[in-house]
């Protein structure tokens, strides 16, 4: 882990506070210049996102105007019409004329807002002529992307190093990531620019919501249903997003990264990714040595297990059992593999047979049996996992790479 220079021993909170005080003093000019961008909805990189931003700014200004009028009258009144100035209260208590005016004028403003809003909405809901379809599936707590026409599919989760760092909760360690903290993923969603892409959102467990502000896309991913969404990205770049619907413990930790590249670059990427996927399938049952298994196991653990069982395998007493020194991780190896494959009914321990490959399960089990002071020296090979799958009651749990044929 690279470390930042800590020669100035100001504690992190204090540093923030100082930056803040300086920031607040500079607030007004900052709002006018650069700071505003960081405090406002992005214009984004699609025609639609620019439209949405336009609507947002228009209604914002309308609200500012209404606010200024109402508060202005109130302030004048509070200044002029106070008893201490010796005024006598008036006695009027109605005026049909005025009341009609302040009913009709807002109605007109609303119509003026509703018309452009309806136009944008209609445009948003036009899914015709899409040139590419990507199925987005929300899982607790990562995304699965399936390029329906390209034969590419993969999971995308929070970057493993960040995932471990956030669990350790060390404030200073977070600074090494800078502004990328909680925004990077292991597998980015790569898409071509200038192509109308249709996103089909669904979920495997609970409701999630796939949100990328720069594309003005936010649509719920609902188990058992498919929601449509579309974007034509105008500029190459990296666009961050996150899950927007509370989906359980790690809802805050399932970011989205969309990398938009030119169609040519996309073709190159797609060919590579496809080849990589096929190679992984082909070689997934090749035997590995212990260091290889441990290295892969550590990253699988970081991405999938550490959420509950914690970075050091200590678990959370009363909620998630420890792996360090546990009977499972130091006992019968077949039982250990079976538990990872099939989960434990009635507990948060999922069956991982559908989400992890044989190689990944072999690696993570090996890792758990040798990390956290477990030191069993055992190792599990991908073929052992395959055998365990077929001896199990439900042989149908063969890992599905998720590639739609």
């Amino acid at each position: 882990m690279t470390t930042t220079d800590h020669s100035v021993p100001t504690p992190a909170p204090l540093r923030h506070l100082m930056r803040l005080l300086v920031g607040s003093c500079a607030l007004l000019p900052a709002l006018a210049i650069a700071g505003w961008d960081e405090l406002n909805m992005p214009v984004g990189v699609t025609d639609l996102s620019a439209d949405v931003h336009g609507l947002h700014m228009r209604i914002f200004y309308v609200c500012c105007a209404i606010g200024a009028a109402v508060f202005g009258v109130m302030i004048v009144s509070m200044f002029l019409h106070r008893k201490s100035r010796g005024v006598k209260p008036a006695t009027f208590h109605e005026s049909t004329k005025v009341e009609i005016v302040w009913t009709v004028v807002p109605l007109l403003i609303l119509v003026a807002m509703a018309v452009p809003a309806a136009k944008v909405l209609i445009k948003m809901e036009d899914f015709s002529d899409s040139e590419m379809s990507i199925k987005v599936t929300g899982y607790q707590w990562r995304w699965h992307y399936d390029y329906l026409d390209e034969g590419i599919a993969f999971y995308s989760a929070l970057d493993a190093e960040q995932n471990l760092a956030r669990q350790r909760g060390a404030d200073d360690a977070l600074e090494q990531f800078g502004d990328t903290y909680l925004r990077e993923v292991d597998n980015e969603l790569v898409v071509p620019t200038g192509v109308k892409i249709r996103f089909l959102n669904t979920a495997a467990d609970v409701i999630h919501s796939w949100w990328v502000p720069d594309l003005a896309l936010k649509k719920d991913a609902i188990p058992g249903f498919i929601n449509e969404n579309w974007a034509t990205i105008n500029e190459p770049g990296v666009y961050n997003g996150k899950c927007a619907e509370l989906c359980g413990r790690d809802h805050g930790f399932m970011p989205i990264v969309v990398r938009a590249v030119t169609p040519e670059e996309f073709q190159v990427w797609a060919d590579e990714k496809r080849a990589e996927t096929l190679a992984a399938i082909e070689t997934q049952h090749d035997p590995r040595d212990l260091p290889t298994l441990l290295a892969q196991g550590e990253s699988v653990y970081g991405a999938n297990c550490s959420t509950c069982h914690q970075a050091e395998g200590q678990g959370i007493p009363g909620m998630f059992p420890a792996i360090a020194g546990s009977d499972i991780a130091t006992g019968d190896i077949d039982a250990h593999v079976a538990m990872v494959l099939h989960g434990v009914d009635g507990t948060p321990m999922n069956a991982w047979s559908g989400a992890l490959t044989d190689a990944e399960i072999a690696a993570v089990v090996t890792y758990q049996r040798n990390a956290f002071g477990n030191d069993t020296g055992d190792s599990v090979q991908p073929l052992d996992v395959r055998a365990a799958r077929s001896t199990a009651l439900n042989a149908a749990t063969e890992f599905d790479m998720g590639v739609t044929q």
């Binding site: 992190a12 909170p13 923030h16 930056r19 607040s24 960081e38 405090l39 909805m41 949405v52 609507l55 947002h56 209604i59 609200c63 109402v70 009144s77 509070m78 019409h81 106070r82 008893k83 005024v87 006598k88 209260p89 008036a90 006695t91 109605e94 005025v98 009341e99 009913t103 807002p106 609303l110 807002m113 509703a114 909405l121 948003m124 809901e125 956030r166 909760g169 404030d171 502004d179 909680l182 609970v206 409701i207 919501s209 949100w211 502000p213 649509k219 719920d220 609902i222 188990p223 249903f225 996150k242 927007a244 619907e245 509370l246 413990r249 809802h251 805050g252 959370i316 009363g318 909620m319």
Partner: protein, 543 residues
Amino acid sequence: MTTDSSHDGVVHHAPGEHHDHDHDHHGPAYGLMRWITTTNHKDIGSLYLWFSLIMFFIGGAMALVIRAELFQPGIQIVDPMFFNSMTTMHALVMIFGVVMPAFVGLANWMIPMMIGAPDMALPRLNNWSFWIMPFAFAILLSTLFMDSGGPAGGWTLYPPLSLQMGDSFAFVIFAIHFMGISSVMGSINIVATIFNMRAPGVTFMKMPMFVWTWLITAYLLIATIPVLAGAVTMLLTDRYFGTSFFSAAGGGDPVMFQHIFWFFGHPEVYILILPAFGIISSIIPTFARKPLFGYDSMVYATASIAFLSFIVWAHHMFTTGMPLAGSLFFMMSTMLISVPTGVKVFNWVATMWRGAMTFETPMLFAIGFVIMFTIGGLSGLMLAITPADIQYHDTYFVVAHFHYVLVPGAIYSIMAATYYWIPKWTGNMYDETLGKWHFWISTVFVNVLFFPMHFVGLAGMNRRIPDYSLQFADWNMVASIGAFGFGFSQLLFVWIVIKCVRGGKQATDEVWEGARGLEWTVPSPAPYHTFETAPDITKYAVR
């Protein structure tokens, strides 16, 4: 204002006086049993208000856990699961345990006195409505100490997430049922009281706005609480009895829950704000020394808000995917609500206009309410614009919006009401200097707390997360400082209330120079029984 103004029409309880009623005693019983068995509207009103105050600090403590965790990026204090149960419980406690009981407490105290009635129409039911609540909340809060932890799927209880909960789920549903029963019984009582107990001559169009807004609120409650009860019961059977109302795998639909929930949930929003409108409509005319502007249009605006509140629910669900026609309809109907709401705000401003204002604490809170509720209302108008809402949805922009309408909105109205009527309740004036300090400190901190949330939300911070990217760090720290400042300054409020209960300058009967309404014609403190003989309303202004 003179203290010896005559109180003809008000029965004083002089010894040996004979009344045509069946009470066998004139004052309260002594000790604990007084409070357990009481059927007196003032006692029950006080119980509700104290209960609400206690829950305010419990819910507030939860909010401070949330803000402490969000003080800096990274997980420092609580596990994300516990964080989620804090956000869930904070909402449930604040909505069902603080704002609603406080309004019911105010209704109990004030409605009979405002319409010249001796008590609520159904006093025993009244006792029950209150005493169910401590048990409901004991059950709800006890789930935090169960092995499976408290509810952590958000107060909206969306399935399938809420169905992942452990067995404390059943307790949560049970608690919600009991809160619902309490609310419905309280509402029936209020409706019955307003229809049957008005003093002769107090016609509907003479009722103070607070009575009107509560009448309409009571109907909203009676109409929507059973819907909530149905929705949570369906969750219960999905969880324990193998039904699949909300599971696509069994032929159900998780989005259907959201439709049912928000059919309750949106009117609930108005349940939490209409009584506030009533309070503000009483306070502003008093301190402007000028009658409420546009009383009739206030009544009609309240009724239209209530009606519209039933046809806008899906504006909470624009991202769930609905037909274009649905999105358009719910966008337009939602925008329409801003018209009657605007009428209210304009009427308050017009009431202030050319009055002779003084700025005692209730007026400060009322003006704070009008300004900050309007800010919340305007961000609500922004949220009505569907394409923009889709981007605002589930971000801190929404958190800022509803906290503006609920904290400097609903909560401020309750504070204003307390300062306004506490001299009548206790017979003592509260400490005006401390009251003003309470207002100004609260107002500074509440804005430090919630205003930055608009911007972090627009910049992309989603809600219900225990940790966030570093670019949101600064404003989250500001919000957390505001939260602690606001939270601790409420201790001042408790001190002011206790001080006022224990003594202080003797309040006159009229209390406020410009006050109008029957409640100001009875002595301060209000006797245990008031208006056992109906007042002669030709002598007093009812509103």
